[in-house]
């Protein structure tokens, strides 16, 4: 069996038993990146020598008992909006092209303390604004299942890296679905944790009240193992939450007999592709076989989620992105007359069109005279949405639904109509607005050979239930072959 076919937890076991080493695993990923990434462009930055040096250090650390956890020695990719000390962190934007942080994000410190090997930084939509990874200033990423299609976004590079065997695990971030939607498009497992579970320190902010870092993996067990490493309160992020239930690996099992699953009727009505609908129905059937009860219900307010989300996210983005002004870091325009001209030109030349669009919308909805009508109104709608979910979770343990209305669209078909692209986030943004955890698990492959995942949403702090349910689905679905595994089987 090829080393790349192993899951992250299997690999770590083998390394622990000395059947292979962290250096061999890192070298296998570097080799796979060399083979695949010219075509896929999942990575923006890989320093092969530094990776192998770090892998050697990790092998020594495992030998001497410094690294003993269930992911020690595993190579991992990190989305390029998460700060890495001494390694460029660009947010896939020209404005941060040369930015090299002098500190690690808390999430990066945690993966290093767990003995993982950081492979490099992955491509994304510029400042995580987009659903296809096509708004990256450094070129798009291709879907490993079919390079004519997008990997989804904004964590498209991270999901493509895992789906192509270039990485065993990846970190993504999710503000409106940016882990869950590309996980569905790329046939990998990803979770957006409950807001506050993973520290946002060192995550370059898009919309602070919605942003969460989360794991992307080949299966549920790997995802649970990585979330156990990432989760924990951090004094550097005052919104991080103190939790004691962060051992997600031991919480796993697949007994579903007590579980109540709810499917919002409106999720299966308008604008959803038949094969996505079939996936959700298939998952529902599997849950019933596992002994869970499955019921349809009216969640309500679904049509209000996208407009409320774009008002709130854009407002927060316009405020967060004020810091990019050409003074302290990042791009500075070379042709400016005076200070204010320098701010404006640096920003106008440094930001791409989608980022400018959201900054302008956000500036408008926060401006005097419009603040109440747009921004406060959206926050009131957000409160109503939270109430709707509270009602739903008084009846159900898990909400089952799609992660996106379609499988991965073709490259070049999404950006010409922004509103239409925004609407494809309809099933994911509500979890961010209500702070809920949401997990995507691959379910089936459609007639075009593209994967489709289903989304499980839980109440705040109910990640363990999501993992339990995802284990159940994986068991009935059977083994899941990623594209690079299929190729090797055929050869």
């Amino acid at each position: 069996m090829d080393i790349l076919d192993l899951t992250a937890t299997e690999l770590a076991e083998k390394i622990k038993r000395k059947e292979c080493s962290a250096v061999e695993a890192a070298a296998a990923c570097i080799e796979q990146i060399g083979r695949e990434d010219k075509k896929l462009h999942a990575f923006l930055n890989v320093d092969a020598d530094a990776v192998l040096r770090r892998a050697k250090e990790v092998d020594r650390g495992i030998e001497t008992g410094i690294y003993t956890g269930p992911l020690a020695g595993v190579p991992i990719a990190v989305k390029d909006n998460i700060c890495t000390k001494g390694m460029a962190t660009t947010c896939a934007s020209k404005i941060l092209e040369n930015f090299v942080p002098f500190y690690n994000a808390e999430a990066v410190d945690r993966i290093e303390a767990a003995g993982m090997v950081l492979l490099g930084k992955t491509n994304m939509d510029e400042f995580a604004m987009g659903s296809t990874t096509e708004t990256s200033a450094f070129g798009d990423t291709k879907n490993p299942w079919d390079p004519a299609h997008v990997p989804g976004g904004s964590s498209g590079g991270s999901c493509a890296a895992v789906a192509s065997g270039e990485a065993f695990l990846a970190l993504g971030s999710d503000t409106g679905g940016s882990i869950r939607q590309p996980s569905s498009y790329c046939g990998v497992t990803g979770i957006k944790p409950t807001y506050g579970t993973v520290s946002r320190y060192g995550l370059i902010a898009y919309a602070s009240s919605l942003d969460q870092i989360g794991p992307i993996a080949k299966n549920t067990k790997d995802c649970a193992a990585l979330l156990s490493v990432l989760a924990g309160q951090d004094s550097k992020d005052s919104t991080s939450v103190k939790r004691t239930d962060t051992d997600f690996l031991s919480a796993a099992g697949d007994d579903m007999s007590e579980m109540k699953i709810g499917i919002p009727v409106e999720y299966l009505s308008d604008g959803i592709d038949d094969d996505v609908k079939e996936s959700v129905l298939k998952a529902a059937e599997w849950f019933k076989i596992l002994g869970a009860s499955v019921e349809y219900f009216d969640l309500g307010l679904t049509e209000y989620t996208i407009p409320a989300y774009y008002v709130i996210a854009s407002a927060e983005a316009s405020s967060n992105l004020e810091r990019f002004d050409g003074v302290k870091y990042g791009y500075r325009s070379s042709s400016c007359e005076g200070l204010h001209d320098m701010y404006k030109k640096s920003r106008s030349e440094g930001f791409g069109p989608e980022v400018k669009r959201r900054i302008m919308l956000g500036s408008f909805v926060l401006s005097s005279g419009y603040y109440d009508a747009y921004y406060l109104k959206a926050l009131r709608v957000r409160a109503k949405l939270k109430e709707a979910f509270d009602r739903a979770f008084s009846r159900f343990d898990i909400i089952l639904g799609p992660a996106a209305p379609t499988a991965a669209p073709r490259l070049g078909t999404s950006l010409n109509d922004p509103l239409k692209m925004y609407l494809s986030d309809i099933y994911t943004v509500s979890a961010n607005l209500a702070g809920l955890p949401g997990l995507t698990v691959p379910c089936k492959i459609n007639k075009d050979g593209l994967p489709i995942g289903v989304q499980l949403t839980g109440n705040c702090f109910a990640e363990s239930k999501l993992f339990q349910a995802a284990y159940g689905l994986e068991k009935l679905r059977g083994p899941w072959q990623l594209p690079f595994m299929r190729k090797e089987c055929m050869e």
Binding site: L301, Y304, V311, V327, K328, S367, R380
Partner: protein, 97 residues
């Protein structure tokens, strides 16, 4: 009906957003923003009269820590990424004429 985005509104947005747009960019931005606001208008159909705005999902107010001395970032590190610097400070173009 959503607020009508006029040329004057676009000028104001440009100032608030600290951006300079070409005439063509401004026309396009105006049309896109109008389309988005017409869509956002849908929120008015939902009665939120007695609902408080939700800014944060958990009821966190002030988060304090002990008032103890901690390491802080050195000026040299902070200046590492500066586009221009001089004598340990950020250098910017002249701000008054």
């Amino acid at each position: 009906m959503a607020e009508k985005i006029t040329d004057k509104t676009m000028d104001e947005i440009e100032i608030l957003a600290k951006l300079v747009l070409t005439k063509a960019e401004k026309e396009k931005a105006k049309a896109e923003m109008q389309q988005m606001l017409d869509y956002v208008d849908m929120l008015d159909r939902l009665d939120t009269e007695n609902t408080e705005p939700l800014t944060h999902i958990f009821p966190i107010s002030n988060v304090f820590r002990e008032d103890v001395e901690m390491d802080s970032t050195s000026a040299d590190e902070l200046l590492e990424n500066a586009p221009q610097k001089k004598d340990g400070m950020f250098l910017v173009p002249k701000s008054i004429g």
